[in-house]
Symmetry: C2
Subunit: 395 residues, 2 copies
């Protein structure tokens, strides 16, 4: 099946196991386009940046790329000049194997920081990779770290009856937080679109999706979001500011929001997806501050794990968020159950609230009743397994 | 034994069980001074404020107080006008019982938010309270919530041979974070000092202690730090800017730092105290940003719980802290074991690092090698028990 990064025309992929993950699972994802594609990217805002990521950031600046290679299990980060050399070697090996220019290869790496990358294994992995239109799922599996399920999404639209496809894959699980590309994700499209318009669309789609999820408030040194546009659809070129661009952007957002919600739902140790919506704020910033405070609050998230309708923690998080609001006006809902009215507790139906908290997706709504701005974030609950997973991740 | 809040002359205290805590433990702490004392306080910066706290904030403004009453087990917060009335009742009942002016009573409350305070039980508790010089420990026990040990500290110094005493108690455990008075703490001294100098000293001492601890990045609506100065030592009055004031400040800091470290070490679920020191930063703010990022990072703290020398997470947290620094210069130490040099991993002795991580106090040192500013914060590891405690706190 053509899915994820191979859903769009012009792209083949592969996912192989080359021995970087202790458990022997696939750990090397390769995506190759049959022609030089327009390319754009968003990268971690962390002051510390992985070596593979820095090379991708440099190579994408030209606006063109033809391949992506990402290894999991061992981040190529915090390794000095050796890390830079290994990133260059990854690109050179890819160029040699698939007949590409090395500067058109975008590299990525995720896993334990500060451990030198076994480049011989990566080299062997590149040699054994067989590209196919069915390889999207394998690639999605290979970039997983503590993810429990692979993450792929697809969308399409038409321009005068001509179908344009967008697909992608993502990995998340931990170190997830907004205001940057907060994970590793690779998107592909067969749209004909130039790098500048592609970059603008990617930023806008990320702000509506990946920049609205938080798992633990952490941001990694290896986070990147890449998109390649092959033009292989044969459809008319998409120009910024046109109706076609809006169609493209909507489809891109839909792919990114689907992947973002999958990332939040599969956060490390997560037992449920939490959707945090703040309504009727005086400004968009106020709505964002409060939803971010709740989505990153260990106390709100452990209560969700314990199915405890502890709305006081939501109001407390709103209170320290830095947002301007009058707590005496605030209403709070867990699902459809109102638990707080005008800043005070209601004698609500505990059984009904418990039922809402036991759903796979729990919606917290904070209605400030002061203005007309809203903001939604997605997160997950904070469970015993988050601690178990992260207590001995490296050793 | 005279300890904690009854260590200084002029103060008596009591701690009684009046039925606010489900487990029947003491839940009402009362401190009374034998005369009108100078008073100062620091309060939560949360936009949401508990009703008892707001009354204390109002009453302390006059610069004088004679008693403190704090209940645990049921926060008087988010309850509308009823909450304000209950706070006033608490002060009135105290005034009646001990012959005080109600505006000289400082009220406090901690526990579950949004649950009306059973004021009849508080009233019964006030009636049964018997004040004594030995009551400091009982009061310290009564303000505990999820704390596992009571927290008291004392210090003294002399002015021309005349002894001045400072003592105090604190409760913490969860919802602990800097940039405010981050818990409930009551300090008492028999120094003769006016309210203005007392407020300045309290702020400076809090900045060196309570404002440098984080347990979970959360801040409560009930956090307050109060100090009463009886003048009962009979020693000369302490004026701001004098050598005596410096002695007073140093002793006050020592009490606050001792209590702050106890709070961090006894954080919810904590198995160890983590001391995070950032050295040789370009500015104090940079050092503070990095130590705060590490001290609040779930990943750094779960690694500490798992005794995993995952220094990459420390460097990552430094990277997203917002501080200006060159990661390529950074050295990192776990205890005395250097694990990272110039931003790159060292082939360090894992056994030695493990031994450091197993100590009751683990010291992380991040040396930026760029300037001369340092900052230290105290926190704890992030364990399975933090999640267990908070998953069903309310129910």
């Amino acid at each position: 099946m053509e899915s994820g990064v191979t859903y769009a025309k012009g792209f083949k992929a592969s996912g192989v196991a080359c021995g970087l993950k202790k458990n022997g699972n696939p750990d090397l994802a390769i995506v190759v386009c049959d022609r030089l594609a327009s390319a754009a990217g968003l990268f971690t805002r962390n002051a510390v940046k992985g070596h593979s990521l820095m090379l991708a950031q440099q190579n994408v600046r030209g606006g063109y790329a033809q391949a992506v290679i990402i290894n999991a299990g061992n981040a190529n980060a915090c390794l000095g000049s050796r890390g830079d050399e290994d990133a260059l070697k990854m690109a050179a090996l890819m160029a040699q194997r698939f007949g590409l220019a090395p500067q058109h290869v975008l590299t990525g790496s995720t896993g334990v920081i500060g451990k030198p990358l076994p480049i011989d294994r990566v080299s062997a992995g590149i040699s054994m990779a067989v590209l196919s239109k069915q390889g999207g799922a394998d690639a999605a599996r290979a970039i997983m770290t503590t993810d429990t399920v692979k993450k792929q999404a697809e969308a399409s639209f038409t321009i005068n009856g001509c179908e344009v496809r967008i697909g992608g894959m993502a990995k998340g699980a931990g170190m997830i937080h907004p205001d940057m590309a907060t994970m590793i994700s690779v998107l592909t499209t067969d749209a004909a679109i130039d790098a500048q318009a592609l970059q603008a669309a990617l930023k806008e789609a990320a702000d509506a999706s990946y920049n609205r999820i938080s798992i633990d408030g952490e941001t990694s040194v290896c986070d990147q979001l890449l998109i390649l546009a092959s033009g292989a659809s044969g459809c008319p070129a998409i120009k910024a500011g046109t109706a076609d661009y809006t169609l493209f952007l909507d489809a891109l957002k839909s792919v990114c929001i689907t992947l973002a919600r999958m990332l939040a739902a599969d956060g490390e140790g997560a037992t449920k997806l939490l959707t945090v919506t703040v309504k009727n704020a005086r400004t968009q910033k106020d709505a964002q501050l409060i939803s971010n405070a709740i989505a990153t609050s260990p106390l709100c998230k452990t209560a969700a794990f314990g199915n405890d309708a502890n709305w006081g923690r939501l109001l407390t998080a709103a209170g320290y968020s830095g947002a301007a609001f009058d707590p005496a006006k605030t209403d709070i809902y867990i699902g459809t159950v109102q638990v707080c009215s005008s800043g005070g507790g209601l004698d609500f139906d505990e059984a009904a609230a418990l039922n809402e908290l036991k759903q796979p997706e729990v919606v917290y709504t904070v209605d400030l009743r002061e203005g007309s701005f809203s903001y939604t974030m997605w997160t997950c609950d904070f469970s015993l397994d988050y601690v178990r997973i992260n207590a001995d991740y490296r050793t």
